[in-house]
């Protein structure tokens, strides 16, 4: 029998072996205990004895799909075994009707506060799957499409910038000196003329000082406005990451060891790490990263399941969960997919969803001290 032992690409693997492997993975996912030949013989309907299963198990082990914690223990799936399971054996699970409804309800509830939808989708994924969840928005370049200044009084104004991705940013500015409304208007007009359509990098010191001269601005207003514009663009392009429910890891027996749990959790809680998660530019497939396949050292004995969605404006978002390699891949994947599809539907750049044409609003706020 010709086998190719490389990374789960078994050229030939008998139907029975597949069935047995699937049984091992399923049972191990359920119980977190090594699975023995007898248990498999009883739980499956292959009409053969435990001795036969034993032989098959031995072969699967030597092929690298299974591992034995020690002689005379049952078998557990190796990462390669999980990979094969995920790629070929796993039955695509459907979310149940109740779950689907719960998800829909939760998503619709959140529609009014679109800004929170992203992180809430992560939260939802975590709650549904019982694992820690991450949510991230892929960074994306933006330009300024419009520039306004609201004149409050001689010392105070609000800058409002509308970006190309329909983000609105604002800033309240108090000055220690007075300016005239006309001056502010002139500046706004200059910015509208000169700064729209530019990305962050295009806003050069040369451009700024040219604008400053054109505005006859001797008080540094131009640089205030320019600095804010740059900040708005960069903030907006930075992408964001949220993690929720880290502590759920502790419910998994494989994270009984506080040392190990701490390693993973503190890795997760630094959002910088998450931003580096595998690119989201992919198609909308589910991605499964199993144990050692993780680039990050800290996640080498955890698995990650991710789904990406269309967040509108050509932007993609990502939700995912982190758990032990013994994760219920099929149910997790199904749930994530369902949520991601729901988000794409709600946010996606396709035609506006029915019943949502009346008004589409997004709010945003920040705390300004005097």
């Amino acid at each position: 029998m010709p086998y190719c032992q490389k990374r789960g690409c078994a050229v030939e693997i008998s139907q029975r072996k597949k069935k047995i492997l699937a049984a091992v993975v399923d049972a191990y996912i359920r119980t977190a205990e090594p699975v023995g030949s007898k248990a498999i013989a009883e739980s499956t309907d292959l009409g053969c004895s435990s001795a036969t299963i034993r032989n098959e198990l031995a072969e699967l082990t030597s092929l690298g799909y299974l591992e034995q914690p020690h002689t005379s223990a049952g078998r557990i799936p190796s990462p390669q075994g999980y990979r094969f399971y995920v790629n070929e054996l796993m039955e695509r699970q459907k979310v149940s009707l109740e779950e689907a409804e719960a998800i829909n309800q939760r998503l619709n509830e959140k529609m009014e506060q679109l800004d929170k939808l992203m992180s809430d989708a992560g939260r939802l994924a975590g709650q549904l799957t019982g694992y820690p969840a991450v949510a991230l928005a892929a960074p994306r370049a933006a330009t300024v499409s419009r520039f306004d200044i609201l004149y409050i009084d001689a010392n105070t104004f609000i800058i409002v910038v509308l970006l190309s991705n329909n983000t609105v940013k604002n800033k309240l500015v108090h000055l220690p000196f007075s300016v005239e409304q006309g001056q502010m208007q002139k500046l706004a007009a200059l910015f509208n003329a000169g700064f729209t359509g530019l990305t962050e990098e295009n806003i050069t010191p040369v451009l700024i000082s040219a604008t400053e001269r054109a505005a006859r601005d001797t008080m540094g207003l131009t640089s205030i406005l320019a600095a804010f514009t740059i900040e708005a663009l960069s903030e907006c392009c930075a992408g964001e990451a949220f993690v929720t429910g880290e502590s759920r890891l502790l419910r998994q027996p494989e994270f009984r060891d506080p040392e190990k749990a701490h390693r993973v959790m503190s890795y997760l809680s630094d959002s910088r790490h998450l931003m580096g998660l595998p690119g989201t530019e992919e198609d909308d497939r589910i991605r499964v990263i199993i144990g050692p396949e993780n680039l990050a050292e800290e996640l080498r004995d955890s698995s990650v399941v991710m789904a990406s969605y269309d967040a509108g404006e050509g932007q993609r978002g990502l939700i995912g969960v982190v758990g032990p390699t013994r994760m219920d891949y099929s149910s997790v994947a199904a749930k994530l997919k369902y949520i991601a599809d729901g988000l794409s539907r709600l946010l996606g750049s396709g035609e506006a969803p029915a019943g949502f044409g009346k008004m589409i609003v997004k709010g945003d706020s920040l705390n300004h001290e005097q």
Copy 2:
């Protein structure tokens, strides 16, 4: 000797007993191991033998300040013992010069992004102390002080609301029908006349429909604006809570048990729980809540140390850390106090800090999908 055994209010407790109690607490904080009479005799400079100490320990135990995990183990402080220690024995620690500088630097760095300052202060507190940290802003009623509408095109406009606490909120609105700029201006004027100075509760359906009539608005614009105004006010008054570094709990030996750690961590990760933390209206003293003094069941064997600060605009913020009852209260308290004082200085409603008068700006942003 007349003792009052109630809640740590020992009417008379000898100087030597105090010294011994302090030694027990200090040693236990350091080692997390029960402390024996011999160790105390050696580590302190009271010129007496371990036998004497034993007698004193026995008395302290019967007074309720100490506990014995079992006969023939050393003593550990009881919650009452900790309370007494915190109230009377603890030497007010100073933050070291390096720490002070590190804190100042971190705080100043963040000044440009005031919106993140609050949660970053929590993060800083957590990093410095090595415990999970919480940061919260006390909710506070606000009113609208100004109302603007930026007309983008016939179907699109941005609402900008300036609140009494100098928060600016905005919302991008797309309409499925056209409106005229004049109509929008009229509405803005009406809202400026009728809605400013009102709190959330004061914006009644009666007022809204009166405005609608006055504006001859048949397209529901008034209710869009009103709804956003209400939302802005309520969001702004909701208060916020951040938790960072939950996983640090796992480094504490008392949270070796994943069950226990999970209980506390999942309690912390629900920010609704945190909002109910003891009122922050207090003076600017440090608050220490020891184990069973916690109202929340889940925190009964943890301690919380909190410091509140003046966040300007009459608003108070709170930073705190959560750890085992065996917490290094004095160093934690000192660090929190230092950070809180720093924040009060930077944000406080007193005179604007020197070198900060040039301009005070705060940004804010949100993602608006089309």
